[in-house]
C-alpha cells in the first residue's frame, strides 16, 4: 500500500497541524506580552525572559504580562477541553460549560468562598467552584432528562434556565456583599484575565493540569461515547464509569477556571469545532488540539479586549461572546435543519 497523504482520520497530517497550533499559541502569547501602555523593546523583552531583570519593563513583563498570558492559556485551554468533554458526554455539539449553566454554578461556588471564608486567591476557591459546577451540571442533566432520553434542544433550554437562575443568585450575592469584599466583581462576572498574578496562575495550574491529563486518559472512552451509550456498552466500554469520570473532570476544569477568571462564555463551544475541523473527532488528537487552540484563542481575545477601546479595557468575556453567540446561532440552525 502506498503511503497516504492524509492520516487515519482522513484529515491533514496531525504533526504539522500541532506544530502550527503550537506556533500560533506562542505567537499570540508573545503578542500579548508585548502589548500594553509600557513599551518593551525586543532586546529588553528577551533579556527579561532569559535573565530576569530589575528595570520597570522587566517587572511589567514578568509580574503582569506573562502571568496574564499564561492565565489566558490555562483558562482558554481548560474551557476548550471542558467543552470537548461535555460535547462527547452529551453527544451534543452545542454543549459548552457556559451555555449549560455549569459556569454559573461554579461562580456561585466561588462567590460563597469569597464571601464567607476568605477573599483573594485561596486554593480553596477552585475546589468550591468545582462543587458548584458539578451540582449545576447535575441539575441541568436531571431537569432535561425524560423517559425517552435527553434531547439536545431541551438540554440547552434547561441550561439557559438554570444559568439565568444562577445569574440572579450571583447578582444577589454581589449586591449584598460588604463593600470591598469582592474586588472587581463586575469585571470578574463578565470574564476577565486582569487578575492574572503569578499566584493565581499557580493556584490554577494543578487543577487544569490534572483535568486535562485525566480527560486525555479518557479519550478512547470519549470516542466510544459518540456512538451512543448502548453501542458503546456493547463495544466493551464501562459506560457509567467513563461518563461519571468525564462529567466530574469537565466540571473540575470549568469550575476551577471560573474561580480565577470569571464567566467567559463560548470558548468551549467555538474552539472544539475549530479543532475538529483540523484534526477530526478522535479525542486523542482533538483534546490537545483544542487545548492549544483554546489557549491561543483566549490570549488573542484578551489582546483585543485590552486594545479595542481607547478609554479602558473590555472584559475578555465580552469579546468571546461577540464571536461566540453568532457562531452558536449558526450551529443551532444547522443542527435544527438536520433533525
Amino acid at each position: 500500500m502506498t503511503p497516504r497523504a492524509r492520516s487515519e482520520d482522513g484529515r491533514l497530517r496531525p504533526g504539522p497541524v500541532f506544530v502550527l497550533l503550537g506556533f500560533a499559541l506562542a505567537a499570540s502569547m508573545a503578542l500579548s506580552a508585548s502589548t500594553g501602555p509600557v513599551a518593551i523593546p525586543p532586546r529588553e523583552f528577551l533579556d527579561a525572559l532569559l535573565h530576569g531583570g530589575a528595570g520597570t519593563p522587566a517587572r511589567v513583563l514578568l509580574s503582569l504580562r506573562l502571568p496574564r498570558a499564561f492565565l489566558g492559556l490555562l483558562v482558554g485551554g481548560a474551557l476548550a477541553t471542558s467543552g470537548v468533554a461535555f460535547q462527547a458526554l452529551l453527544r451534543n455539539p452545542l454543549a459548552d460549560p457556559y451555555i449549560l449553566g455549569v459556569s454559573g454554578g461554579a461562580a456561585v461556588g466561588a462567590l460563597t468562598v469569597a464571601l464567607f471564608l476568605s477573599a483573594g486567591a485561596s486554593p480553596l476557591l477552585p475546589l468550591c467552584a468545582f462543587f458548584g459546577a458539578a451540582l449545576s451540571a447535575l441539575a441541568v442533566f436531571l431537569l432535561a432528562r425524560r423517559k425517552s432520553g435527553v434531547s439536545p434542544e431541551r438540554l440547552i433550554l434547561m441550561g439557559v434556565v438554570v444559568g439565568a437562575f444562577l445569574n440572579a443568585v450571583i447578582m444577589l450575592m454581589v449586591t449584598l456583599s460588604p463593600p470591598g469584599r469582592i474586588p472587581g466583581a463586575l469585571y470578574w462576572l463578565m470574564g476577565d484575565l486582569g487578575l492574572g498574578t503569578p499566584r493565581r496562575v499557580a493556584v490554577l495550574l494543578p487543577y487544569v493540569a490534572a483535568g486535562v491529563v485525566l480527560l486525555f486518559l479518557l479519550s478512547r472512552g470519549l470516542d466510544l461515547l459518540l456512538l451512543g451509550e448502548q453501542a458503546a456498552f456493547q463495544t466493551g466500554l464501562s459506560v457509567e464509569r467513563v461518563k461519571t469520570a468525564t462529567y466530574l473532570t469537565a466540571s473540575l476544569l470549568a469550575g476551577s477556571v471560573v474561580a480565577v477568571s470569571g464567566l467567559i462564555g463560548f470558548v468551549g463551544l467555538i474552539v472544539p469545532h475549530g479543532a475538529r475541523a483540523l484534526v477530526g473527532s478522535g479525542h486523542r488528537r482533538l483534546l490537545p488540539a483544542a487545548f492549544l487552540l483554546g489557549g491561543a484563542f483566549l490570549v488573542l481575545s484578551d489582546v483585543i479586549a485590552r486594545t479595542a477601546s481607547p478609554s479602558g479595557e473590555l472584559p475578555v468575556g465580552a469579546v468571546t461572546a461577540l464571536a461566540g453567540a453568532p457562531f452558536f446561532l449558526y450551529l443551532l440552525r444547522r443542527n435544527g435543519g438536520k433533525s
Binding site: 487515519e8 479519550s219 456512538l227 453501542a231 478522535g282
Partner: protein, 266 residues
C-alpha cells in the same frame, strides 16, 4: 455442540405489561439464526437482553456459560458484538475511524493500534464494500452505507457471537444479498453464531439454518425455514395472507404476499 449463547424462559417488561414472555433460544457456532416478527414483537428488546444492556425480568441468559451482565465489559465485547443503532452523524467521524472503534475491546484502554487492528479494520471495510469510502465522514454517506459501516464495525470487533438488529433495513437488494453472503462466509470460516433480526422472509430462508418467529413477545414458532415459514404461521404472526412454495432455482422456501386477499386483523 454446546450453544454459544442461550436464553431460557426469558421474560421482560418495560412497565407493567410483558414485552417478552418465556422466550428460549440457542445460538450454535456455525449457525445463522433469523429472528422474524412484526414491528413491536420484541425483537430489539430480546437483542438488548441477550447483549446485557437490559436485565431480564425472569429466566436466564448464558453467554459461553456465564450471564452476559456478569462479564467484565471488554471480555464480553470480545465474545459478542451487536449491530443496532445508527452511527452518529453530529460529529465529523470518518468511516475508517468509526469502524476502528470496533477494535476497542482488543486494545489497551488508550487504544494503541497494532498492525493486527489495522488489518482487521481493512478487511472489515473490504468485506462491506466500503474501502473506497473509508475517508468520508459518516454524515456525507447514504443511510445504507452507514448501515454497512455499522456491520463493518461489528466485523472488526471479531466476536464469535453476532447479534444484528435489522442490519439490512436500508440496503438495496445487491447489498442485502452481499450482507447475507458475508454472514455466511463468517459462519463457515470463523464458526460464528449469528442472530439476525430481519423482515426479509424469503432471503432468510435462503441463508438461515434456523428461524425464530416472534409474535407479541413470545416464540410463535421456531425451527428450520421449512418448518416455520408456513402460510399458517405467517398469517398468525403478521396477519398477512401469503403463499409459500419452493424457489425452483435454489430449493429454498419462498414466501409471497398474496394480492387482493384482505389482511385479517389479529
Amino acid at each position: 455442540m454446546n450453544p454459544l449463547l442461550s436464553a431460557r424462559k426469558v421474560s421482560f417488561g418495560y412497565g407493567a405489561g410483558d414485552v417478552l414472555r418465556d422466550v428460549s433460544i440457542d445460538l450454535h457456532p456455525g449457525e445463522v439464526t433469523i429472528l422474524l416478527g412484526p414491528n413491536g414483537s420484541g425483537k430489539s428488546t430480546l437483542i438488548r437482553i441477550l447483549s446485557g444492556v437490559l436485565p431480564s425480568r425472569a429466566g436466564e441468559v448464558l453467554l459461553c456459560g456465564r450471564p452476559p451482565r456478569g462479564y467484565p465489559r471488554r471480555e464480553m465485547a470480545r465474545l459478542l458484538s451487536v449491530v443496532g443503532q445508527d452511527p452518529p452523524v453530529d460529529f465529523p467521524m470518518t468511516v475508517e475511524s468509526f469502524v476502528a472503534l470496533g477494535r476497542f475491546p482488543h486494545q489497551g484502554f488508550f487504544g494503541e493500534t497494532t498492525p493486527e487492528d489495522r488489518e482487521r479494520v481493512r478487511q472489515a471495510l473490504a468485506e462491506t464494500d466500503l474501502y473506497g469510502l473509508r475517508d468520508r465522514t459518516l454524515s456525507t454517506i447514504s443511510a445504507g452505507e452507514r448501515q454497512r459501516a455499522t456491520v463493518a464495525r461489528a466485523i472488526a470487533q471479531g466476536a464469535r457471537v453476532m447479534l444484528l438488529d435489522e442490519p439490512t433495513a436500508f440496503l438495496d437488494i445487491r447489498h442485502r444479498v452481499a450482507f447475507y453472503e458475508i454472514v455466511t462466509r463468517m459462519k463457515e470460516a470463523c464458526g460464528i453464531a449469528a442472530l439476525v433480526a430481519s423482515h426479509d422472509l424469503s432471503l432468510c430462508a435462503e441463508y438461515g439454518e434456523r428461524i425464530i418467529l416472534l409474535a407479541e413477545g413470545t416464540v410463535a414458532s421456531q425451527g428450520t425455514p421449512v418448518e416455520v415459514l408456513t402460510p399458517g404461521n405467517v398469517q398468525a404472526a403478521y396477519g398477512l395472507a401469503v403463499s409459500c412454495d419452493r424457489n425452483p432455482a435454489t430449493g429454498a422456501i419462498r414466501v409471497t404476499p398474496l394480492r387482493g386477499m384482505p389482511a385479517k386483523n389479529r
